[in-house]
Amino acid sequence: MKHDVNVIGHGFRLRPIGDADAEFVLSLRGNRDKSRYLHPISGGLEGQLRWLSAYYSRPGDYYFVVEKISDGNSEGLISIYDVREIEKTAEWGRWILVPGSIAATESAWLIYRVAFEHLELSSVVCRTVADNAQVVSFHESCGIRRRRLMEQYFEFGGVRSDAIEHQVQLEDWAEISTKLERLAKGIARRTPRD
């Protein structure tokens, strides 16, 4: 949905996606190596602009560009969606970074801040293709202990894949936030704001 949520971290920030980012989305998600665990996109620039147009009217869906604070360069994409205001739950994903980016830790920290500080949710999940071992490992490295296997959950090109779902509840957030922020600060020393 069209939103105005901006979250500023130490070295990176999340800002709302716009039509001007369509080519960036294509460049990232058109990289087969980086996007093999995401749904494929189609239709080129026109298709991406049509997708964004539909996204702008989709409630409970917040799509962000990950931007480096020091130079304003776009480093990746991340979203939180399926926000359910009554249950106070959501899912985050559509997470992809440019090759060589060190924004992973901080972008995860920032999307959780969107979830728990801006949207005031009680819990948020992230579902990862089970074969995407390093991302599965990343979630566990964050300290997330609640996980479950969702068999045959994803479908890409007619092929079904298992998902690992990681869940963070509000009561877990403080400890996870402390860990992620500590690392984000350390990384930010190398991406000075001035």
Binding site: G100, I102, A104, Q134, S137, L183, R190
Partner: protein, 80 residues
């Protein structure tokens, strides 16, 4: 500090962070170790920096994708 001591330091850090025993001379890569994820990578880098009183740049952090590159980069920093 000798390069061999840096190798030992890296091995200790890999054991502590990844629970992995590095065999001497093996060049393990990030892509070959599922547990060497983005967050663990940062933890490994920070521990090595603390141990050797060095600091890697952003580009170096991104470029280090193997044990050998980590040792080479640390050795280059330490000698500088």
């Amino acid at each position: 500090m000798l390069r061999a001591q840096i190798e030992e330091c890296v091995a200790d850090i890999f054991q502590a962070v990844l629970g992995l025993k590095l065999e001497r001379g093996t060049n393990a890569t990030r892509s070959s170790i599922a547990a060497w994820d983005s967050l663990k990578h940062v933890e490994i880098i920070f521990m090595l920096e603390d141990e050797l009183s060095i600091e890697f740049s952003e580009s170096q952090m991104a470029e280090i994708d193997s044990v050998e590159k980590l040792i080479d980069a640390a050795w280059a920093k330490y000698e500088a």
